[in-house]
């Protein structure tokens, strides 16, 4: 993307006059447009090719979550230090009125990227909870004042290049301010439907009995989604009380019964999770993504019982859908941390 593409993101404004310009924008709109907002949604990213995609994402989000969106493109490595800003609005029709969310876009380069906290603090819509989606690698130095202000921190562990280090940082952020910040991993949102589908596989009383005796798990995941598959295994391990055994040789889990649970991950092109196979004795429990279609086919095969394949909604893949799913949640993800802790040595 050329610089011109960033310039086209909205109306250029002086940073010190953003609030005044926004007020003017809404006064000029008169009664035809209503500004709405119930969260401050801050997106921090360092990839300049993502400006338009993220602006579109805000437009998609705004139809369901009216917000003040603050997009921050930071380029800490740039030789020039500069800070620029633009404003724009995303409107959609609701009845006879247009409901609008406002977006402020910042482009920070060089040293000005260190001014991130002041940029965020200066432009929040007061009283509304700030939600920060961090789309860049986490910095090792934690700015406590910034992070302790965030009500909800969203990230995507599937993008982590150094998962153990990133998780350690997340853990520290989560502990700031008496652990007030809600952590929202889009990777966890990504496997929500998969988790529901897996739970469904064991709904039947006969199947439920096999759950505590699982022997092997095989998961096919898309390239770059190993963490997604591990999170899924971590979820099962934490819920079923399995303990990861020392990583000498091939890792496995030890069930409370003392049985070993083996697992294999295979990289396959396709959706983030395309296939999960669970074996317990002579029974197979299979969840398979139907190519090109947005559903799973779930099959239980046990000797002596008839197969009843079922069709189940599969997971979300688009970033806007994942973020909407995360924003639609009001509370903490009770099992997420436990799932992550269960597979931490494997990351």
């Amino acid at each position: 993307m050329k610089t011109d593409d960033i310039e086209g993101v909205g109306l250029p404004v002086e940073i010190g006059k953003i609030d005044r310009e926004l007020v003017k924008l809404w006064e000029e709109a008169g009664e035809t447009k209503t500004r709405a907002s119930h969260i401050n949604l801050v997106l921090y990213f360092e990839d300049r090719t993502q400006v338009q995609a993220n602006t579109q994402l805000i437009a998609d989000i705004a139809t369901e979550h009216a917000c003040r969106a603050i997009l921050i493109l930071a380029e800490p490595g740039a030789s020039e230090s500069a800070a620029k800003a633009w404003i724009n609005a995303h409107c959609h029709l609701a009845g006879k009125r247009q409901i609008c969310s406002e977006q402020i876009t910042f482009h920070l380069t060089g040293e000005t990227t260190q001014a991130l906290p002041s940029i965020v603090f200066s432009h929040l819509d007061s009283d509304l909870p700030p939600c920060l989606w961090w789309l860049a690698p986490f910095q090792r130095t934690i700015d406590e004042q910034l992070w302790s202000w965030v009500d909800r921190l969203v990230f995507d562990s599937a993008r982590w290049e150094d998962p153990p280090a990133s998780f350690e940082i997340i853990r520290k952020i989560g502990a700031l301010g008496d652990g007030r910040t809600v952590l929202g991993d889009l990777n966890w949102a990504r496997i929500l439907e998969t988790r529901i589908a897996i739970a469904g596989l064991f709904d039947h009383a006969m199947a439920l009995e096999k759950l505590s005796k699982l022997e092997t798990i095989v998961i096919d995941h898309a390239p770059g989604h190993r963490t997604t598959a591990l999170l899924l295994i971590g979820w099962l391990a934490s819920r079923l009380g399995w303990k990861l055994q020392p990583l000498l040789g091939k890792p496995f889990f030890l069930a409370p019964s003392g049985a070993h649970v083996q697992f294999d991950l295979a990289e396959k092109p396709g959706p983030s999770i395309s296939r999960c196979l669970f074996t317990s004795g002579a029974c197979d429990f299979l969840l398979k993504h139907c190519n090109e279609r947005n559903f799973f086919e779930a099959t239980v095969s046990c000797p002596g019982s008839q197969e009843h394949p079922r069709i189940i909604k599969s997971g979300r893949e688009k970033p806007a859908d994942l973020l909407l799913s995360e924003l639609s949640r009001g509370s903490r993800h009770g099992h997420y941390r436990h799932a992550l802790e269960a597979i931490l040595p494997l990351l």
Binding site: A115, P117, S122, S126, L128, W149, G330
Partner: protein, 496 residues
């Protein structure tokens, strides 16, 4: 309730070539003229030392008004208005200058029908007040010609401590009676500050909740991203406590905390404000240490630009211990406010320009929807003094959808959009009130002295122990010590 009509008069501004005259006073008078709020005959006479003609003075003020007026300048109206502006050259200590001023005012009265009414505006540096007031008295200008009135408007600071405030009050009293003395605190002229009383006493729903039974604490904030901006000479001596807390913020606290006045006349309201000041819990060196945080900004960034530390600003002592930030807990020992802390904070080089009062109500019991809430659920009523004057109420609401999910939302009232026009500048209202003889929005002598009495306790404690100056980065919301102050009361500063 209609306002009093201002009478024809001459406004004499001492310090006519200064910033206040150019940025605030003359643009305010022009806006009043445009809106037809001024009487037909009003003269503005600038009194200053520099040599210049009426024409040059008018030109300079014209430029300033075009730049600083809240509404765009209509050249025809400006020309007509500026015909009533005059310049009088004299040093403040030049007796002959006052004698010639008296003659000139008499002539203007005769020519333009201003009836001998004079409003003297002390917009000069405080150290000039004494000489101006004494010369006004010596020249007899402090006494209006028969049938007219002579009033004085005194700009803050009203002293630098209780002793100097008493001395200044005695000095003013030597020339003008208290009834003709108008101590200006422009915060009181702001529409939202005035609306505080309307909100409290014209609406049935709030007053019942306005006490320690329902209110957890109150936060009063005045923040600005600006640094000292060339005012280091003044600021080094005053600091945030004297510059802002003694006057503006304690006035806002009084309006928030006072009992309903017996009437809407000036003295009934000011009596109630004084009662609040007298109920402030006295501070000791020990309580100053635990309930007052003073800090100074270090280097940082504002709006993406690097800014210097206070000690590196021009004309600031590199070892200065002047506070650019103060956060304090104030307790009001009366029936209504027992157990309700008022947290006041003021600072320079903070991320946003905002002045507001936030009433934090006690939370609902931690059951049902509040049993597992992650987001704040306490109701907060915010009165925004500036900018974007208005009122908002934060409450919890169910997010539409099948799940029961509760999130904070806010109901917001903006003056600008609800009334279709921006509220007038504070100086417009205050000048008009002074011309009309209504002192309600001006500080009375005892208010000023009671406020200093409280502030002096803090200054004295600081002077006996200079070690507790915290440092915060420019562009942050202040030092962590200020967060700790609220944390002790299970509260956090509002995220503005």
């Amino acid at each position: 309730m209609n306002r009093a009509v201002p009478e024809p008069c001459t406004v004499v501004i001492f310090g006519a070539t200064g910033d206040l005259t150019h940025r605030k006073l003359v643009p305010a008078l022009y806006n009043l003229a445009v809106e037809g709020a001024l009487p037909q005959s009003v003269n503005v006479v600038g009194f200053a030392r520099r040599d210049k003609t009426d024409e040059i003075f008018r030109e300079e003020l014209g430029e300033a008004t075009r730049r600083y007026s809240r509404q765009s300048v209509n050249e025809e109206l400006w020309t007509s208005f500026s015909d009533s502006i005059f310049y009088h050259r004299s040093a403040f200590d030049e007796a002959a200058g006052y004698a010639s001023l008296a003659k000139r005012l008499d002539a203007l009265d005769a020519e333009r029908g201003t009836r001998g009414n004079r409003l003297f505006y002390l917009a000069a540096a405080p150290d000039q007040f004494q000489v101006i007031l004494e010369n006004l008295r010596e020249s007899g200008l402090n006494v209006a010609p028969s049938g007219g009135w002579a009033r004085v408007i005194v700009e803050k600071p009203f002293g630098t401590d209780l002793d100097s405030a008493r001395a200044l009050n005695a000095l003013v009293e030597g020339s003008f009676p208290e009834s003709e003395t108008y101590r200006i605190d422009h915060y009181l002229g702001k529409e939202t500050a005035q609306n505080l009383m309307v909100l409290r006493f014209a609406n049935a729903i709030f007053e019942h909740l306005w006490n320690g039974r329902y209110i957890h604490h109150v936060q009063i904030t005045a923040s600005e991203p600006l640094g000292v901006e060339g005012r280091a000479g003044y600021y080094e001596k005053s600091g945030a406590l004297r510059d802002m807390v003694q006057n503006h913020l304690l006035q806002l606290l009084c309006l928030t905390a006072m009992e309903p006045p017996a009437g809407l006349d000036a003295d009934s309201i000011r009596d109630e404000k004084v009662k609040v000041l007298r109920s402030l819990r006295p501070l000791t060196s020990e309580t100053v240490r635990t309930s007052v945080v003073r800090a100074q900004y270090g280097a940082g960034a504002i709006n993406g630009k690097r800014v210097a530390a206070y000690r590196d600003e021009e004309n600031v002592n590199p070892e200065s211990v002047t506070e650019t930030y103060v956060a304090l807990q104030i307790n009001i020992d009366n029936w209504r406010w027992a157990g309700v802390p008022f947290f006041v904070r003021v600072g320079k080089r903070l991320p946003k320009a905002a002045t507001e009062i936030a009433i934090h109500f006690k939370g609902a019991p931690p059951v049902l929807f509040n049993a597992t809430a992650d987001l704040p659920t306490d109701n907060v009523l915010v009165i925004r003094i500036q900018p974007d004057e208005g009122i908002s109420l934060r409450m919890s609401a169910k997010v539409p959808g099948a799940a029961v999910r509760v999130e904070p939302v806010k109901m917001d009232f903006h003056y600008g959009t609800s009334f279709g026009k921006a509220p007038p500048e504070a100086y417009e209202r205050l000048l008009l009130d002074a011309m009309s003889g209504d002192p309600t929005l001006f500080a009375r002598r005892d208010e000023v002295e009671e406020a200093w009495k409280f502030i002096d306790q803090i200054r004295n404690a600081w002077e006996s122990d200079a070690a507790d100056l915290a440092v915060y980065s420019a562009g942050s919301w202040g030092p962590t010590e200020a967060d700790d102050l609220l944390a002790r009361h299970d509260a956090t500063w509002r995220r503005l």
